[in-house]
C-alpha cells in the first residue's frame, strides 16, 4: 500500500444555475493574456450540447485517453511512444482553433474617432488570431441554454444510442449545466502523452501541472487529454492547463472557481488513495466496473491501518485530519452520491459530480402531481429513462444502476426533509428505502444544502518546511511564468520569466492580520476592497463601534 493524498473536487449539479461566474473569474485570474484568449481552464457547458471544444467527448475522432488492449494492459488511444515520436512533426489529432473558436475583440476606436456620418459607427469584431475582420460564429458557450439546440444539441456525442428516444423539441428537452475544470486524474493521459516529460503530478497533493521550462510545445498533451483541458498557448508555444489554483490551495484558500461560485456547489477536500492500485483499477475489463474500481482505490482515512501507512508515507498529521473531515470523501464514499466524469476514459478523474435530480423533478412537477413525494419521484426516476441514460453516459460509462441509486437518494432526501421542514414527524422509512439512516440523510442534507465555507472547503495548507518553494521570489515555481512572458529577441514569451501575477496570498493574509497597513499610512479610508476576501473586517472598513 502506497498512500498518496489527492486534492479533489465535487460539484453538485443540481445547484448550478449556469451563470459562468466560475469561468469568468478563472479567466481573469489565469488566462487573460495574449495567446490564451481561447483558453478556458474552467468552462460551463449546457447539456445536452456539444461542449468545449466542440464534440470533445468523441474519442473515435480525438483519440484521447486510454484504452484497454486485449492483453489487459492499458495503452494510449492515440498510439504508443514510437507512434508519438513519428508523428511529432505534425500532430494528427490536434483540434484546430476552429474547433475551439476564433477569439475576437471589437474595434472600439471607430466609435470615438469616426467622423460625422449619416449612420452610427459600428465597432466591428476583429479576430485576435489574424487581426482581420471576422464573423462571430462560435464561442466557448455558443449553445448556452440550448441555444440552437435543433442544430447543435442533436450532435451531442453522449446522445449516441439513445438519440431515437430523445426528442429535441425545445419544450420537451431536459437541460442542465456541467461546469468543467481539469480532472487532475490519478492516471493522467496528458502526462503520459508528453514527449518532454514536462507534465507532472505533484506527489504532495496530486495536482497535475505543466512545467513551463520543460515544455517544448510538441502538443501531444492536447491530443492525449480526453477532456481537452490542456490548451496550447499560441504565443508562447507552450501548453497550459488548470492549476487547481495551487498558489491559493497551498495557503488553504479554495480555487478561484470555487471561491466565486454563486450557487456554492463546489466542494474541495482531500482523498487518500493507494497509488499501487491505480493502474490495476484503470485496467478493469468492463467499462461499467470503472466507477466501482476507482472507488476501491480510495483509502478510508479512519482506518487505523491506512493511518499508519500514511504516516510511513510522510503524510502530515494535519493532512490526515483534513482527509477525515473531507467533504469530497464523504460525498464519494460515505453518501455515495458523487460520480466521476467519463470513467470510460480510464484516466481516473478526480473532479466528481452529483448528478442533477432537477430534470426529473421538473417533469414530475409539470404533470401536476406532488414533486416532493418519494413515491412519485421514485416512479419518475424509473420511468424517465432518457435523463437517466444520458446521465449514465456522462458519469458511469452508460451503467444506469449507480445513477438510479444517486437520484433516488436525492429524491428521498427531498421528501424526507419536507416532512422535517413542515414540522411533521420524519418518516424513517424514506431513508431506509435507499439504504441510509435518518441521521445520515440529515447530515447529507446539511452538507449538500447548508454547509458553511469551512465545511465545503477543507484544505490543509502546504507545510512550512516547504514554504521556501511557495515564495514567489524563487523562479522554481513550475508555472510561475503564468504571469506571462515578455516579447524578447526570440519571439513572444522568451526572456526571463515573470513571477506569478495573481495575488500574493501571504501578503493578503498579512494585510488582514497585521496591526498596520502595509506601506504605512493611516487606516481610515484606506481599505483595498479589491483585496478583501470577506474574511475578518479590516479596520477602516466599518465605522468604529461604540465600545472600542
Amino acid at each position: 500500500m502506497k498512500v498518496m493524498a489527492q486534492m479533489a473536487m465535487v460539484m453538485n449539479l443540481d445547484k448550478c444555475i449556469g451563470c459562468h461566474t466560475c469561468s469568468v473569474t478563472c479567466k481573469q485570474a489565469w488566462t487573460n493574456r495574449t495567446g490564451t484568449e481561447y483558453v478556458w481552464f474552467n468552462n460551463v457547458e449546457t447539456r445536452p450540447g456539444l461542449g468545449y471544444p466542440r464534440t470533445y467527448e468523441d474519442q473515435e475522432t480525438w483519440q484521447g485517453g486510454w484504452v484497454r488492449k486485449d492483453n489487459g494492459r492499458l495503452a494510449l488511444r492515440s498510439g504508443g511512444r514510437l507512434k508519438k515520436l513519428f508523428t511529432i512533426f505534425s500532430n494528427p489529432k490536434l483540434p484546430s482553433i476552429q474547433d475551439y473558436y476564433e477569439p475576437w475583440t471589437y474595434d472600439y476606436e471607430t466609435l470615438t474617432s469616426s467622423p460625422q456620418t449619416d449612420t452610427f459607427p459600428v465597432a466591428r469584431p476583429k479576430s485576435l488570431i489574424s487581426g482581420k475582420d471576422m464573423n462571430v460564429e462560435w464561442s466557448a458557450n455558443w449553445d448556452d441554454d440550448l441555444g440552437g439546440s435543433q442544430e447543435h444539441a442533436a450532435r451531442d456525442v453522449m446522445l449516441k444510442g439513445i438519440e431515437d428516444k430523445v426528442r429535441l423539441e425545445f419544450e420537451e428537452t431536459f437541460m442542465f449545466y456541467l461546469p468543467r475544470i481539469c480532472e487532475h486524474c490519478l492516471n493522467p493521459s496528458c502526462a503520459a502523452s508528453c514527449p518532454s516529460g514536462a507534465i507532472y503530478k505533484r506527489a504532495e497533493d496530486g495536482i497535475v501541472l505543466v512545467d513551463q521550462d520543460r515544455c517544448r510545445g510538441w502538443r501531444m498533451c492536447v491530443s492525449g487529454c480526453p477532456y481537452k483541458k490542456v490548451y496550447f498557448n499560441h504565443k508562447t508555444g507552450k501548453a497550459e492547463k488548470c492549476t487547481f489554483c495551487y498558489p491559493r490551495v497551498e495557503v488553504g484558500i479554495p480555487t478561484v472557481c470555487s471561491e466565486t461560485c454563486v450557487g456554492r456547489l463546489r466542494y474541495i477536500g482531500l482523498v487518500l488513495y493507494d497509488a499501487d492500485k491505480v493502474l490495476e483499477a484503470a485496467s478493469v475489463e468492463d467499462d461499467h466496473d470503472l466507477y466501482a474500481a476507482q472507488r476501491s482505490v480510495f483509502l478510508d482515512p479512519d482506518d487505523p491501518e491506512v493511518q499508519r501507512a500514511a504516516e510511513r508515507a510522510g503524510i502530515p498529521g494535519d493532512w490526515m485530519e483534513a482527509a477525515r473531515r473531507s467533504p469530497v470523501w464523504a460525498l464519494i464514499n460515505k453518501y455515495q452520491v458523487a460520480l466521476p466524469l467519463h470513467p470510460e476514459y480510464r484516466t481516473m478523474p478526480m473532479v466528481w459530480y452529483i448528478p442533477p435530480l432537477s430534470p426529473v423533478v421538473d417533469v414530475v412537477r409539470d404533470t401536476g402531481v406532488d414533486a416532493e413525494d418519494r413515491g412519485n419521484l421514485f416512479a419518475a426516476i424509473d420511468a424517465l429513462r432518457i435523463p437517466v441514460e444520458y446521465l449514465a453516459n456522462l458519469f458511469t460509462a452508460g451503467d444506469t444502476e449507480p445513477v438510479d441509486g444517486v437520484l433516488k437518494k436525492l429524491a428521498a432526501m427531498r421528501s424526507y426533509m419536507r416532512d422535517i421542514n413542515l414540522g411533521r414527524d420524519p418518516d424513517d422509512s424514506i431513508p431506509e428505502a435507499v439504504g441510509m439512516s435518518g441521521e445520515e440523510m440529515y447530515e447529507m442534507f446539511r452538507l449538500l444544502a447548508i454547509a458553511k465555507y469551512d465545511e465545503r472547503y477543507v484544505i490543509p495548507t502546504a507545510h512550512a518546511e516547504q514554504a521556501h518553494a511557495l515564495e514567489e521570489l524563487a523562479t522554481e515555481c513550475p508555472v510561475s511564468e503564468y504571469g506571462g512572458g515578455q516579447q524578447d529577441a526570440f519571439g513572444e514569451g522568451s526572456g526571463y520569466p515573470t513571477p506569478v501575477a495573481v495575488e500574493n496570498f501571504r501578503m493578503l493574509q498579512d494585510r488582514q492580520t497585521a496591526d498596520e497597513l502595509v506601506g504605512g499610512g493611516t487606516k481610515e479610508g484606506r481599505v483595498n476592497l479589491l483585496n478583501w476576501d470577506g474574511k475578518g473586517s479590516p479596520e477602516g472598513l466599518f465605522p468604529p463601534r461604540g465600545d472600542s
Binding site: 512533426f89 505534425s90 484546430s96 488570431i129 515564495e471 523562479t475 522554481e476 519571439g491 522568451s494 526571463y496
Partner: protein, 242 residues
Amino acid sequence: MNVFLWVIVPYLCLAVFVVGHLWRYRYDKFGWTTRSSQLYEDRLLRLGSPLFHFGMLGVVGGHVIGLLVPRSWTEAVGIDDHLYHYVAVIGGLIAGVMALVGMTILIYRRRTVGPVFSATTVMDKVMYAFLGAAIVLGMWNTIAGSIFSLGGEYNYREGVSVWYRSFLAFQPDADLMADAPIGFQLHALVAFGLFALWPFTRLVHVFSAPVGYLTRPYIVYRTRDERPLGNAAPRRGWDRVG
C-alpha cells in the same frame, strides 16, 4: 584571406553556437520551444512539416557519413568510389528534394496564411534565408557537381571532408577548402552562418528531440524539491539594504 574564411570564421561561428546554446538554456528555458503554428493552420503543415523534417533528418545523416567517415574506412570495408558515389547521390537527392519541397510548402504557408505570417519573428525570417540558401547550395553541389560534373571533377571526400575533420580536431587545414569549388565554399560559409544563428532561433528545438520519452515511465511524479529547477540561481526577492 584563406585563414580568415576557413579558420577564423568557422571557429567564431562554432564558439557562438556552443556558448550561445549554453546561454540560451540558462537564461531562456521558457522561450525554448518549437513555437508550433499548427493551431492556426493544419492542412499545409500536415504535408510540409513531415516532408521537411524527415528530409532534414536524411540530410543530416548524409552529412555525418560524408564528412566524418574517411574514404579509407569505406574502402576498407569494400565500398569503392563508384558505389559510394551512387548511394550518396541517390540518398542525397531523395532527402534533399524532400527537405526542399517541404520547406517550400512551409514557407508558402508562412507567407500566405495570415495568422502564421503575423506570428513570424525577424529571427525566423533571417533563419529561413540561411537555411534555404544552405539547402539550395547543397542541392546544387549534388546535382551540378556530382551528376553533371560542372566545373570539373571534385571529390569532396578528399577535400571538404578532410578539412572538416581537421577543423574538428583543432588542426585546421585552410588550403583544402580554398581549393574546393565555389559551390562548396558558399555552402560551407552559409552553413556556418546558420550555426552562429542557431542558438538565437527556434532551431534550438532540435536539441530537445524527446528521445527520453521512449524510456521514461508514463506518469511523472514530482515532489517539491530543495534544488531550484533552473541552472540560474534564483533572483533575490528583496532589495539590498544600503
